[in-house]
């Protein structure tokens, strides 16, 4: 007993720098050696996802993303922004951007460019519009003005083009169409939208906040004033998962880009949100964060996939296929990219379900977060035991 006591007393007097070192190692090791862990999605995140997704392929609906933060909170907010932008680009959803902070403007550019690298067909002014920095003094006239006419409230975009002349504005006038505002902030998220836009125009508001601020925002979520909330890195990881499972999902043979079918209907690839799909065991294959190189097909799916590929690629794919337990597997790491047409290469890579690092940053981070939390809990328990033992010892003396 005496030995245990001295250990806890020693813990009490431990130099805090050792604790910093242990926490740093608890974070570095899971980042260097990633593992596949699940991340259960919660209703506040699912609601944001579903609301955004309900605008898929629609000319008369758009989302506004407000970047009300600077670089200091980027580790928490940037992954959720990337995930939402990716969702919009995947599902052909019109998206607008603005920032009321000067230091928020370059983060918008960075986020758009990061996602756009993977979507060469997405065009500025057509699929998205960046209003850039709008001075904070103009928050109230801008938020209220957009309820009447967006092009009047923000006459030019960040590139100096007249907003009213941009193709993206076709079918978009005010909050009736741009019916969802998502604000990302490390402080008073959503306040202006909640005060000026929601009561007067009925705009749907959602927020992406740092975990510190989440406790302040939950009352508004509980009363339904926010349609949803993304809470820090966890919220970002949940959204990343939903995008992989639904928006970025492609069945073999399905085109990667939106297309017009024979009846003239616009078809947006991907699939709609469903709780049942999230419960399926196959989902584990879609949300792996370790590198995946094998595209797996059933024989029927492989036939469908072959039909969708250019003829010159088909013999190569036939040669590369392997049959394992009745399924057909193609390992892309054994193929030469230059020998295949770009469409086949892109589709094949998409079907490996190998998510690029930039689209799984939050999930990789959550691995480290879990380990760090366990370490913190151990420290708190040991610290408390030590404190009470020391207190008891002092009282005894």
């Amino acid at each position: 007993m005496a030995e245990k006591k001295s250990f806890f007393v020693w813990m009490q007097s431990l130099d805090r720098r050792w604790i910093y070192l242990v926490v740093a190692l608890a974070i570095i090791i899971p980042l260097l050696i990633p593992y596949n862990s699940d991340n259960v999605t919660t209703p506040p995140t699912e609601n944001v996802y579903q609301m955004v997704d309900s605008f898929a392929g629609r000319e008369d609906r758009a989302v506004l993303l407000s970047f009300y933060h600077d670089a200091s909170v980027m580790p928490e907010l940037y992954p959720m922004q990337i995930a939402i932008i990716r969702h919009c680009f995947e599902r052909n959803i019109k998206v607008f951007f603005l920032s009321f902070l000067p230091t928020g403007a370059p983060i918008i550019d960075m986020a758009i460019n990061t996602v756009k690298e993977e979507y060469p067909n997405i065009k500025s002014g057509v699929d998205y519009c960046n209003f850039g920095y709008i001075p904070a003094a103009l928050i109230v006239p801008t938020v209220i003005g957009m309820g009447d006419n967006i092009a009047t409230a923000v006459p030019t975009d960040a590139e100096g083009r007249k907003t009213e002349n941009l193709p993206i504005m076709k079918g978009i006038t005010n909050y009736n169409e741009m019916n969802l505002v998502i604000e990302f902030s490390g402080s008073t998220a959503g306040a202006y939208w909640l005060i000026y836009a929601r009561p007067k125009f009925g705009t749907n508001i959602a927020v992406g906040v740092t975990a510190v601020m989440a406790a302040d925002e939950y009352p508004y979520l509980q009363t339904g004033q926010y349609i949803g909330l993304l809470c820090g890195l966890k919220g970002a990881a949940e959204y990343e998962k939903l995008v992989d499972v639904f928006a970025a999902y492609r069945t073999p043979g399905e085109p990667l880009q939106p297309y017009i079918d024979e009846n003239g209907n616009k078809i947006v690839p991907g699939r709609a949100f469903s709780k049942d799909i999230l419960k399926q065991p196959e989902i584990k294959d879609l949300i792996k964060i370790t590198t995946q190189t094998e595209a797996k097909f059933t024989p029927e799916e492989f036939e469908l996939f072959l039909k969708s590929c250019p003829e010159k690629d088909q013999p190569l794919l036939q040669l590369a296929k392997q049959t394992v337990e009745g399924n057909i597997i193609i390992d892309v790491s054994k193929l030469d990219q230059d020998q295949l047409s770009p469409i086949t290469w892109d589709t094949l890579n998409r079907l490996t379900r190998n998510t690029q690092y930039k689209f799984k940053v939050a999930r990789v981070g959550m691995n480290a977060q879990s380990v760090a939390h366990i370490i913190m809990i151990i420290f708190i328990i040991l610290g408390n035991i030590g404190y009470f033992l020391q207190k008891a010892q002092t009282t005894k003396k």
Binding site: P75, P135, T210, V212
Partner: protein
């Protein structure tokens, strides 16, 4: 070495300078801190000039000749009289104008922060969560009612409010830990992926 890798190395250097404070205060930390303040201010100044001064002052007045805008511009300049002991009273006028937006927000803020919140707290108590919200709201409000001493049965009742607040503070603390760890994860992800692995790739393939 690519420009991206070079800029990442600069970022890594300053990240480590800031982390060095965890060991103890030192000149590298202080240099990085002051650079951050200076760069942020300089960047904001240039952006404000480009996105505020030019489109909202220079272009309308000097190019479009909207002379009426000179009046609010002069009132805005009154802010600078804060630095004059004799004429500092003039700076109160632009402040008074900017307070108009505060006035405009009062009614709407009451709707958002009080009326809607109250309405949602008055729903029928149909499940355990709503019962907890009801008890929590009443007891916390009474805890801050100081015209009656917190003694006897009343004191025990309002003490429940204290426990509700303790749970709230615990949740806030947990979320704060999560947030701080997330920031550290972000920085370490940058050091590991954008610097360490990029250097490895650049020099060892």
């Amino acid at each position: 070495m690519s420009f991206e890798l070079f800029s990442n190395l600069v970022g890594a250097f300053f990240t480590l300078c800031i982390f060095s404070f965890l060991y103890k205060d030192n000149p590298f930390y202080q240099m990085s801190e002051q650079l951050l303040v200076g760069i942020s201010l300089g960047y904001s100044l240039v952006l404000t000039y480009e996105r505020v001064f030019i489109p909202y002052f220079y272009q309308p007045i000097f190019l479009k000749h909207e002379w009426i805008l000179i009046i609010p511009s002069i009132i805005g300049l009154f802010y600078l009289f804060r630095f004059s002991s004799k004429l500092s009273w003039l700076s109160r006028y632009p402040i008074a104008f900017s307070m108009m937006s505060v006035g405009a927000s009062v009614a709407l803020a009451m709707h958002t922060s009080i009326l809607v919140q109250m309405r949602q707290a008055m729903v029928p108590i149909e499940n355990i969560n709503l019962a907890l919200i009801f008890i929590g709201t009443i007891t916390v409000l009474l805890y801050f009612f100081f015209s009656k001493a917190h003694t006897g049965v009343y004191g025990q009742f309002v003490n429940i409010g204290k426990w509700f607040m303790m749970v709230g503070f615990g949740a806030s603390f947990g979320l704060t830990v999560m947030a701080r760890i997330s920031l550290l994860i972000g920085r370490i992800q940058f050091l590991v992926n954008d610097v360490f692995l990029a250097l490895k790739q650049a020099f060892f393939g």
